[in-house]
Symmetry: C2
Subunit: 364 residues, 2 copies
C-alpha cells in the first residue's frame, strides 16, 4: 500500500493517496456502490462491473442525480455501514459525497478523483453539494471522504479543457501558500507522468488539507482563503451560463479581478499582481475584462451581489497580499462603499471608497 | 431569560429552554426565516407575520418541502449566517433542520417544538431528515439546533392523538433511564400545566441530551439505545400505511414486541416486561399482536428486514433489560437464526434459536 497524507477534519479522518495506478479496491470491505458518469465509466468498471452511471456535466449536478444515487443504494441494500465510491471529476465527487452524507444520515465514502481539479480541490476537505435554482452548490454538506485515491494514470487522457480547469486551482494554492511557492510554480504545464507534477499536486493537497484542518466547517475565516478568485468566478460562470466557462478558467479570471481589487485597496502589491498575471497568462488563461465570450452583465452583477458566501449582507472578497491573501468584507450595495478590511493587524477602514466603487462599476 | 439545559453534541452546542410561554424571538439577531405548517400557523405568526407555511403531515415530509424551505431562504436573501426557525411538530422540526443543515452547507437553526413528541424527542439531539421512497427519514443529517425552545403553553390545545404520540417516547426514556424512573412514571397522563409534567419532560430531555453527548453521530452504540421499540414501530408504520398509526402508538406497540423478544432471549425479566406493559396499557396504548387495524403482513416483514439501522446485513434490536436495555444484533434472514448478543459482559450466542425464529414467524 502506498503512503498517504492523513488529515483530521473536525470529527472525520481523511486519508489521501496519490499513486500511479488505480487501486484494486477502495473500501475496507463490506457492501459498496460505485458511482461514475458517462465519461468515467471505464474507471467505474475497474471497481465494479455494474456501477451507477450518471449523466456527465455540470447541468446534471442536481437533486435528481442525488436521488438516483440514494435510490440505487437502497435498491442494492446498502446499510449505513456501506460505502459509496465516487469515481470521476468534481461533479461526480460532489454528488456522491453529498448522497453519502445524507444516506441514512451518513454512510461510508471513498472518492477516486479522475480530473486534476478533483484531485487538487473537489475531493479534498469535505465540501459536497449540488446546484439548485441555478446556483452552484447551493445545497451541500461538509463530509470528508475517509479515503481519497488519486491515480495519476487517469490523467493521461484528460482533455485540454480539464487541464486548464485544474491548473488554475494549483496556481491559487501556490498564491496562498508562500511567495516561494508562486515563484517556483512551473512556467509551463508539467507532464502528468513526471516528478515535478506529482510534487506540485502533493504540495497543493498538503496545503489545502492543513488549512481545512484548522477550519473544517469554514467558520473560522481560515478556510475562506481558498475562495480566492471564486466570488468573481462564480458570478462569471452564471453570466456566461453555467457549464459554459470551465471552473478553472473562471477562477483564473477571478484571480485577475481579485488582484485589481486588491490593488485598489492597497493590499495587493503591484509586483505580486504582475507575477500572478504572468503565471496565469503563461498557462493560457483569458484574463481580459470584460470576459470576451458570452457575458450577461446584469446576471453578473446579480450573481455577485447574491454570492452565497455573503454574511449579514456583506460580500467577502479574498485578495492576494504580499504574503498569502486577505479577506475583505465589502458592502458593495451601500452607497458610500464603506467597509472594513480584516488583516492580521486588525481592522481598518477603506481610504478611497470612490476608487473601489469605480472598480465595481467598471465590472458591470 | 429562563435557564437552559446546555449540551455539546460533537462540534455543536445546543441549548434547550423549557418554559411556559413562547419567547418574543428565537434567533440572536440577523436575518431569519420562520417555517411552520398549516397546524402551527398561529405560532409561526407569533415570530414573523409572513412565515413559510408547509402542508401538515407525514405525507408531506418529502424533498419538495425541503426544496420549498431552501428556495424561500434564497428568495429572502438569507446568508449562511441567517437562521432557520422551525415552529411545529416533528415533521416541521425535522424538515427545517435538514434544510438548514444543507443551506449553503449549513446555516443557523432554532427549533420551537409545539408537540410533546417534538419537545421530548424530535427537536433534541440533532437528527434531521425526510422520507424517501416510502421510507421514513431515509435521507437526513445530524445537525443540532443551537437553540430549542419548548413553550408548554403550546400543548394546551394539543390533540389527543398527539399526546399519545409523545407520551410513548417519555415511557421509552424512563425505561432506558433507571428502574426508578419507570417506577415513578405517572400512572395517568399528567396535566401539561403542572409541575409533575414539566419535571417529566425536563428529565427526558436531560437523559436524551446526555446520551447523545456520548455518541452524537450514533456510531458508538450508546445513542442506538434510543431506538428501543423503533425497529418494530417503523415496520408497523409501513404496514399500516405511513401516517396512519401515530409514531408514539407504533413505538408503544414496538416496545411491547421488544419485551417479548427480550423475554425469548432471556434478557428482559418477566417482571420488567410486566411493569412496562402495565404503564403502556394504563396510558391507553394498543399492544396486541397482530395490530388490530389495517396491517399488511408482507409489508411488515419486508420493512423489518430492510430496516435502515441494519449493519452488514444484521438487524439491531434494542430490548429492555433489568437495567436500561441491550442491543441485540440478529440475522433474522439466516436459516439458523444465529446471532450474538452484545452486553456489558461481552458477547454470547443465542441458546434457543428455534424459539427466536418462532417469535418472528408469529409476527408475519
Amino acid at each position: 500500500m502506498p503512503s498517504s497524507q492523513d488529515f483530521r477534519f473536525g470529527s472525520f479522518s481523511s486519508s489521501v493517496y496519490i499513486q500511479r495506478a488505480l487501486p484494486r479496491r477502495t473500501a475496507p470491505g463490506g457492501s459498496f456502490l460505485v458511482v461514475c458518469d458517462t465519461n468515467t465509466l471505464r474507471y467505474g468498471r475497474h471497481f465494479e462491473q455494474n456501477p451507477l452511471v450518471l449523466e456527465a456535466g455540470e447541468a446534471h449536478k442536481t437533486w435528481s442525480a442525488v436521488e438516483a444515487i440514494l435510490g440505487e443504494g437502497r435498491k442494492r441494500g446498502l446499510g449505513r455501514d456501506g460505502t459509496f465510491v465516487g469515481v470521476g471529476g468534481g461533479v461526480v465527487c460532489d454528488l456522491t459525497a453529498f448522497a453519502a452524507s445524507v444516506y441514512m444520515r451518513g454512510a461510508g465514502l471513498a472518492l477516486v478523483p479522475t480530473t486534476l481539479l478533483a484531485m487538487a480541490d473537489a475531493a479534498i476537505g469535505g465540501k459536497t453539494g449540488f446546484d439548485l435554482g441555478g446556483i452552484k452548490n447551493f445545497a451541500g454538506s461538509f463530509y470528508p471522504a475517509a479515503r481519497v485515491i488519486a491515480a495519476l494514470d487517469t490523467l493521461d487522457t484528460l482533455p485540454e479543457r480539464e487541464w486548464k480547469s485544474g491548473m488554475a486551482e494549483l496556481v491559487k494554492t501556490a498564491i496562498l501558500d508562500t511567495p516561494s511557492a508562486l515563484d517556483e510554480f512551473p512556467a509551463e504545464r508539467p507532464a502528468p507522468g513526471g516528478a515535478a507534477f506529482e510534487r506540485l499536486l502533493r504540495r497543493a493537497v498538503r496545503f489545502k488539507g492543513l488549512l481545512v484542518e484548522r477550519d473544517p466547517l469554514e467558520t473560522g475565516g481560515t478556510r475562506e482563503l481558498l475562495n480566492l478568485g471564486h466570488t468573481f468566478a462564480h458570478a462569471l460562470e452564471a453570466a456566461a451560463g453555467l457549464g459554459t466557462v470551465s471552473h478553472g478558467e473562471a477562477v483564473a479570471w477571478g484571480i485577475a479581478r481579485s488582484c485589481e481589487l486588491g490593488g485598489v485597496l492597497g493590499i495587493t502589491p503591484p509586483s505580486t499582481a504582475a507575477a500572478i498575471r504572468q503565471k496565469l497568462e503563461a498557462l493560457g488563461y483569458e484574463l481580459r475584462n470584460p470576459w470576451p465570450g458570452r457575458f450577461d452583465r446584469a446576471v453578473f452583477k446579480e450573481a455577485l451581489i447574491h454570492d452565497k458566501k455573503k454574511r449579514s449582507g456583506t460580500l467577502r472578497f479574498v485578495v492576494p497580499a504580499k504574503k498569502s491573501a486577505r479577506i475583505v468584507p465589502l458592502d458593495i450595495e451601500g452607497t458610500d462603499m464603506e467597509g472594513a478590511i480584516e488583516s492580521e493587524t486588525g481592522k481598518r477602514t477603506i481610504k478611497n471608497p470612490g476608487d473601489v466603487r469605480m472598480f465595481f462599476e467598471g465590472l458591470w
